[in-house]
């Protein structure tokens, strides 16, 4: 019964909606000491710089790695020496092939060596 009466009077007792209370202005914000902030920034910079320099160093070194066949170690000095000779002979073979006299690298330019202002008909 009591509940019924409450339902009829619902509008009468409706609460007025209000905006939530604005946060009280902080009179004392959390203190971040400037020296700590600078130190953290510096450490971060150091880490990034180190990482970048390390990466640069690695990239610089990569093409300078010795070819695998020159890194391989052979058991005897003879085999190593003969392998080196073999490589040099192959280089010489390439050099000789490149010295083919019939292949002239820089032939005279393909231009009109005679210029005439009258059109040939």
């Amino acid at each position: 019964m009591n509940q019924d009466s409450d339902q009829t009077t619902f509008t009468a007792h409706q609460e007025v909606l209000q905006a939530p209370p604005a946060p009280a202005p902080s009179s004392s914000p959390l203190p971040v000491q400037p020296s700590h902030k600078k130190r953290n920034l510096l450490i971060g910079l150091c880490l990034v710089t180190t990482l970048l320099l390390g990466l640069t160093f690695f990239i610089n070194q990569s093409p300078q790695r010795e070819p695998l066949n020159s890194v391989l170690k052979f058991d005897t000095k003879t085999t190593s020496r003969q392998t080196e000779l073999g490589q040099r002979f192959q280089t010489l073979k390439t050099q000789i092939t490149d010295s083919d006299p019939t292949k002239q690298g820089l032939a005279p330019p393909p231009v009109d060596y005679q210029i005439t202002l009258i059109e040939d008909r």
Binding site: K38, R39, L42, I43, L45, C46, T49, T50, L53, T56, F57, N60, T79, R81, Q82, L85, G86, R88, F89, Q90, L92, K93, Q95, I96, T97, D98, S99, D100, P101, T102, Q104, G105, L106, A107, P108, P109, V111, D112, Y113, Q114, I115, L117, I118, E119
Partner: protein, 271 residues
């Protein structure tokens, strides 16, 4: 904080030797590449002026007006100037290559380098003359003068350079084959303990020595043909003399190829 900064600076400085250790490109090789690139660029420029000249000449033939005539003179002048620039760029590229070539007679090389310089000077004078011409008649005179007096030295310098370059390349290869065969003899053959194998390797080296002798004879013949340039008459075509030099070098090229093939086989059998 100061320590951290110092460490950072030191760490950065430690990379300076790595950067400095990067091998600088050979300046002469870079220069040759640059000159070659310039030559191909000038050739491209020449082709563009050529197309314009052909168009303007066709137009003047069709209409024959004063305007088309003036246009033709301007475009022929630009075309001839572009041609002179191509020829100059070609000579400079050839000069740089020849200058680096070894295995040729120093006197011959110097003589050809001087010829190249003289021809380049002639081309520069031709370009200056073209720049001062504005009418058809003097332009035709200058073009005719160029063909009569500037082109023969250009071809002589070009083909003599090409002949010397071919001789130098073959001579360089022959020298290298001699050095490598001697290295092989001292490092492998003389140290071989198996007598039968040693005798076999020595026979192989003798074959290589014979091939080198053939190459030397052939190079000498090519040098003799090269001397034809000096005794050539004005009417002789330098391209023909160059053809003789190349033909004379062919046996040397074959002999060197056989020689290095023997050397590679010997190295394999010595293992």
């Amino acid at each position: 904080m100061f320590k951290t900064l110092t460490a950072l600076v030191l760490f950065t400085l430690s990379f300076i030797p790595v950067v400095l250790a990067q091998e600088p490109a050979s300046s002469s090789a870079t220069s040759t590449t640059k000159l070659n690139n310039d030559y191909f660029y000038q050739l491209e420029q020449y082709r563009q002026t050529h197309d314009q000249f052909i168009l303007d000449r066709g137009e003047h033939t069709k209409f024959g007006t004063l305007a088309t005539g003036e246009k033709l003179v301007a475009s022929a002048r630009a075309f001839a100037s572009a041609r002179a620039r191509v020829l100059s760029a070609y000579l400079f590229a050839l000069r740089a290559t020849l200058d680096q070539t070894q295995g040729v007679d120093i006197g011959d090389k110097q003589s050809v380098l001087t010829m190249i310089d003289q021809s380049a000077a002639g081309l520069a004078a031709h370009q200056q003359a073209l720049a001062a011409i504005a009418e058809r008649a003097p332009l035709e005179v200058e073009l005719s003068r160029f063909e009569t007096f500037d082109l023969p030295p250009f071809f002589a310098a070009s083909y003599q350079s090409l002949s010397l370059l071919a001789i130098g390349r073959i001579q360089g290869s022959a020298d290298q084959l001699l050095v490598e065969s001697r290295n092989f003899e001292s490092q492998v053959v003389t140290l071989e303990e198996n007598e039968a194998k040693k005798a076999s390797l020595s026979r192989g080296l003798k074959e290589i020595a014979l091939k080198l002798q053939d190459a030397t004879t052939s190079i000498a013949a090519a040098r003799a043909d090269f001397a034809e340039y000096n005794s050539a008459k004005q009417s002789d075509d330098p391209e023909d003399i160059h053809g003789h030099v190349i033909k004379a070098l062919d046996p040397a090229y074959t002999a060197l190829q056989q020689g290095v093939a023997y050397l590679i086989e010997l190295e394999k059998t010595s293992q």
